[in-house]
């Protein structure tokens, strides 16, 4: 089994707000992130796939295919977007880094045929990242 990781970057804005909470609760729990006008980050995405090395190609996965799937399924939908308003998954969930990692996994997993998705890592800043391994 060999693991291969492909990186990508995207920039997006978001804010944290739960309509079930009172304004005070939203402010207390989410702090500055609750500003309804949004704020942004330069996100770094790392997608790790795993698999056996194909004896003919020497590849775990064709990187071109992986790159294309990441661009089509993730970057086109998230890059330079206001996540709360433009990405359907975040109409009903809060675009935290945790939920971003889950959403990206859910977008990629069904589209990756050649290799098995192992981990989605999302850096919100260099000092904060979330790993999702598809665990329920």
């Amino acid at each position: 089994m060999v693991y291969l990781t492909r990186k990508a970057e995207f920039s997006a804005s978001h804010y944290y707000h739960n309509p079930d909470f009172t304004p005070d609760e939203n402010q207390r729990i989410f702090g500055k992130c609750n500003n309804p006008n949004g704020h942004g980050h330069n996100y770094t995405l790392e997608v790790t796939v795993k698999g056996a090395v194909d004896p003919k190609s020497g590849f775990v996965v064709d990187l071109k295919q992986l790159k294309d799937v990441m661009s089509r399924e993730v970057l086109d939908a998230l890059d330079h977007r206001f996540l709360n308003k433009e990405v359907p998954e975040f109409f009903t969930s809060i675009p935290t880094t945790e939920n971003l990692a889950i959403v990206i996994w859910q977008r990629l997993a069904p589209k990756l045929n050649a290799a098995q998705l192992h981990r989605v890592r999302v850096y919100e800043t260099p000092d904060l990242f979330v790993d999702f391994y598809g665990e329920a």
Partner: protein
């Protein structure tokens, strides 16, 4: 707010912190010669320092109301009070946990793991990882993974 399948999905969250401290690697169980042979430059009696970069990894189900494994404000507050204020700009050899243990980054990893494990209960502690320099890093995930 959120009624979806991701309700109980488990994620790992990692936060990076930095502190600066000095130390000297020296074991009372070795002769002066053995200490020099074992620790080399790190045995300099005057000590030396590092900018330590600490990664704290916690895990847990992503809360469907907040979208969070745990609130970063709580994790940051705990680490600031119990780790950074304890170690930043200190001489590690003078701290209680290093009276008997040599303040290697291995032992520092274990000490920080124990502090977080004992005091922070908002999420499950997975791992402490410390970069002593850009070239050296150390990880500790508790006794079972030793």
């Amino acid at each position: 707010m959120v009624k979806r399948e991701a309700r109980s999905m488990k994620a790992h969250l990692t936060r990076r912190y930095m502190f600066s401290a000095s130390h000297r690697l020296h074991s009372d169980q070795m002769s002066a010669e053995e200490n020099r042979a074992t620790y080399g430059k790190c045995n300099n009696p005057y000590g030396h320092g590092h900018n330590y970069l600490v990664e704290v990894t916690v895990s847990g189900p992503v809360d469907d109301q907040t979208g969070m494994v745990c609130n970063l404000v709580d994790l940051d507050g705990f680490v600031r009070t119990h780790i950074l204020e304890r170690y930043d700009h200190q001489n590690l050899n003078l701290l209680a946990e290093f009276v008997k243990e040599v303040p290697t980054t291995e032992n520092l990893c274990i000490a920080i793991y124990e502090i977080v494990k004992r005091g922070f209960h908002n999420a499950h502690l997975e791992k402490i990882r410390i970069e002593e320099t850009m070239m050296n890093s150390f990880e500790y995930s508790g006794e079972s993974s030793r």
